[in-house]
Symmetry: C3
Subunit: 139 residues, 3 copies
């Protein structure tokens, strides 16, 4: 018996709070595992991206981008940018608040998501990035 | 040996950032599992509710509702509402930022919570809802 | 076979949104477990502290403190403080939004963190505190 089944998703993002629906990729790892009852852990590597769930829909995506742009403006004089001659302090802040991991139960071989609830990667960095999401299925 | 014990909580909320203490329900699932050392994963299905921990106390609940009403006002012209003829864009935003899952270690058969730390479901939708929280105990 | 290996970190913080890098402590528990493929769950006990990941760097730490001080000022007339003759309502709010737990996959015996991604405890309470972080390694 294997208690954990591991997988990885590799994807390209456009950065700038790009919201990417990764539900199908997570579900594919789950399917490969054959697990009926357990928990999927998804985690994005990197300090300028985050994972959460939301209804993946153009309006909600735009609202999230608007809200975060107002609360953490990219063009403000952040310390991170001044100390490191960098430009993505706002990305670090957004990622830290939302967080890199979610845990989704598996019941009857399916993720316990709602019909309008998708797992999304949000890439806050201010340029396109290659991202790795690690997906572990525990049973 | 069963490595995962699954349970579900079903509850009615009043919506409108109703904060519901689900600690006793989670603890009941844990007790049924008989697990002494492990981790409890709790997850709420749906894109307009979230899970976190807080001191469940009238003042803190009111403060959280005040803060979120200011940061994400219900009556603002959000894109989600305009595109979908909907009214709960603010609920989607709050749920995405706080997130649907928490993982709480079990030590000596008890949740590793503080005395003034409860597991809460926060329902941001703008109407009463029936909610399902899935609780998985891994050992 | 032991499916879960448990450990605890005990640490002193300065409070007031002190950000403490706990990556080495979490990695030490992982090393003791000997787990090659699995997931580490880290959880802070208490309702005025939170866990997340970020680049642990002076600028980013200062930015996070600035942002949270603006969004949830300590000196505002919060209900929690008025009802309980308390002074740390802002700490409760910050902890509830950021959350007490993270789950980090283990691949090849290492945490799936990025080079500039550390696991941090953020202590929002308005005084120095002794904190316990529970670290469970599931395999």
């Amino acid at each position: 018996m294997m208690a954990v089944h591991g997988g990885q998703l590799r994807l390209s993002t456009r950065g700038n709070t790009d919201v990417v629906d990764i539900t199908d990729g997570v579900a594919a790892v789950l399917r490969t595992s054959g697990v009926e009852l357990g928990t999927v852990v998804a985690f994005v590597t990197g300090s300028t991206a985050a994972l959460t769930t939301m209804e993946y829909e153009l309006g909600g995506v735009a609202d999230l981008q608007t809200l975060l742009a107002e609360l953490t403006p990219a063009d403000r004089a952040w310390e991170h940018n001044e100390r490191n001659h960098d430009t993505n302090a706002h990305a670090h802040l957004r990622a830290a608040v939302i967080g890199p991991s979610e845990s989704i139960p598996v019941v009857g071989g399916r993720l316990a998501l709602g019909t309008w609830q998708q797992i999304v990667l949000v890439d806050f960095d201010d340029r396109p990035r290659e991202r790795v999401v690690t997906v572990h299925v525990h049973s």
